[in-house]
């Protein structure tokens, strides 16, 4: 949607993971396009469908080039039937296809909750592993420009509660491509959550087909004082906070799990045992969310390694407001992460 594009351009300074390197760079959206392009080229079972995938905007530029190359049989628009669209993807997968379904907002995935939670997530278990369901469900979180309560939700936490789903939250263009390749290659249903604000970030993206494995966290920055576990756009915010904290002599380790199911808890635990401090920065509601889960597991398994109580930096338990002054108050970012870290490291100082 053009207005969120405008918002992204205005608010989010581009982030370059490997600034200065003499390598090919792609932005996040183009990396997704390339992953799908390569998957369509190498596997005739792959197809891409979703509302507006071949309109001029084409899922924020991540699909519209594809139908021109692969035809409307393999890249096609769908009715506004979110529930059946997911069910149709499941049925096609049962018949041996590998569909990629594109939803332009996670909010609309809730229309398909039944097919995702009652069907996709259960199919392997209920039928004792007899039916592979290689379905990828992409959706892109909107934010800002008054998108408000029904067009800006991040719902990975809702699905995170459900066993039987794999959940991917890439933060860089490199991971976006490699994780989407892994998602399409996986024989199980995968929810792939993108963030509109990441779309203009770029990083080194090799041209060849590569897979970033699930359940392997990336240590984005090494540090010894505090562990910050962050997902999606919060990784960028955490790295910004870490830069500022470094200037104050505080050494932050930033871990991006990249997939929250499966979760690379061992990397997180090892880091917390080293630093003794944990901040989890999520892009979703605080209560019962991914951040809460990480805090719980770390508390259970590395309690004696903790020097202080872990902290969650996440959305307040409220719907997203439309008004921009309220939006500003709503979204946590680098400064909130920084504040949480400082309060841990220098508890006597008032930040």
């Amino acid at each position: 949607m053009p207005w969120t594009k405008l918002q992204v351009e205005r608010e989010e300074p581009a982030f370059d993971e490997n600034a200065g390197d003499n390598v090919r760079k792609l932005d996040f959206g183009t990396a997704l396009l390339e992953a799908q392009d390569q998957a369509l080229a190498r596997d005739p079972r792959v197809f891409v469908m979703g509302q507006g995938v071949n309109d001029p905007n084409g899922a924020f530029g991540t699909t519209n080039a594809l139908y021109k190359k692969y035809g409307l049989e393999r890249v096609f628009d769908t009715p506004l039937n979110e529930e059946s669209t997911i069910g149709i993807a499941l049925g096609a997968a049962m018949a041996g296809m590998r569909p990629v379904v594109v939803h332009n907002r996670p909010d609309f995935l809730l229309m398909a909750m039944d097919q995702i939670v009652n069907h996709a997530a259960k199919w392997s278990y209920m039928f004792a592993g007899q039916v592979p369901l290689p379905v990828v469900i992409r959706s892109c979180v909107g934010r800002g420009w008054g998108s408000a309560a029904q067009h800006s939700q991040t719902v990975h936490g809702l699905f995170h509660h459900v066993p039987g789903l794999k959940i991917v939250l890439p933060s860089t263009a490199y991971d976006a491509k490699g994780l989407l390749i892994s998602s399409i290659a996986d024989n199980n249903p995968v929810l792939f959550f993108e963030q509109r604000w990441l779309y203009k970030h770029q990083s080194h993206v090799p041209e060849y087909v590569y897979a970033v494995p699930f359940g392997q966290a990336a240590v984005k920055r090494k540090g010894k004082d505090v562990t910050v576990v962050a997902v999606s756009h919060m990784v960028i915010e955490s790295l910004r906070a870490a830069d500022e904290l470094a200037a104050e002599g505080i050494d932050v380790e930033v871990i991006d799990p990249r997939t929250i199911r499966p979760l690379d808890i061992e990397t997180i635990l090892a880091s917390v045992r080293k630093t003794g401090r944990l901040v989890v920065a999520d892009l979703a509601w605080t209560t019962g969310g991914f951040a809460a889960e990480v805090v719980a597991v770390v508390t259970e398994r590395a309690f004696h390694g903790l020097k202080c109580a872990p902290r969650r930096v996440a959305f307040p338990d409220l719907p997203t407001p439309a008004g921009y002054t309220l939006e500003q108050a709503f979204y946590p970012g680098a400064k909130d992460i920084k504040k949480a870290v400082l309060e841990m490291v220098r508890p006597s100082e008032k930040v």
């Binding site: 069910g87 149709i88 018949a95 039944d114 069907h119 007899q130 039916v131």
Partner: protein, 334 residues
Amino acid sequence: MTNKDCAPFPNPELTAAAAADFLTRMLMIRRAELKIEELYPLEQMKTPVHLSLGQEAVSAGVCMHLNRDDAVFSNHRSHGHYLAKGGSLKELIAELYCRETGCSKGRGGSMHVIAKDAGHWGSSSIVAGATPHAVGAALAFQMQKKNAVAVCFLGDGACEQGVFFESMNWAALKKVPVVFVIENNFYSVSSHISVREVNEFLYKRAWAFDIPSFRVDGMNPLDVYASAAEAVEHARSGKGPFVVEYVLQRWRMHVGPGDPNAALYRAPEELQAGYQRDPIKEFVEHVLTAGILKEQEIAQISSRVDGEVEEAFVFAQNSPLPDGGDLAKFLFVD
């Protein structure tokens, strides 16, 4: 139940082999379910059973026109669909006993049966949940240029779900080879269709999507056979989806053996003698009168089916139970 609007069909030409096959399928469902009903009170089958007694003609008559490569999707009342499509009786009964040898290895139970090799692709107990799966499979057949058809069995209650309307829209839009087989037994649990819907003529729902459809007497196996031939052939020949509404009688209560509360929820007319038409009896009378099968052949089929049912229960009862240590198995496919 009303036969109003039911389309008439000339009696189909049945060879002796086809008649024997059709009868075997119906009898298999009948005898298996009667046995389930008999043994259910022993509480060894610890899974809710939705019996399809009375509805055998539809499962059998539709599946008579399907090949192994055709896909069947079904619902909570799945035993008939599974058996008619050629699912293993032993594995079905073992599933009801929640055994490791069951068709879903004791993980699915009665409401989640599957016979992949025979072409029963799995049943969902979320009412109407499988309707889009059938469309998706049919879409895949179209993409793969296969000559296969997908069939989805659904109840009258399922016709109230939004996802069924969405699925019809998709099916018509993409012109995929899918047949929706509505089993209208007029009840969702104990709620009569008249308290749930303004229009009980469910075949008319297809009109909104320009999908051809008809209503058929589902207690008449010959009509079922003839109508299903048309519907399946329509889909198979590339003309797109078809909707058939079969008007039926569910003989038992919604779930479990018998119908102890029948007087409390069924209308008096329905309860009068004669509300239980028997499709198998009608079929046997027809094939005898028409000289398609002889008494002796029917007796042979009957005793063979009884033997298989007996064997299946012994197999199930003697099969190992899943090990608690395997609880976490199968969450994902490798």
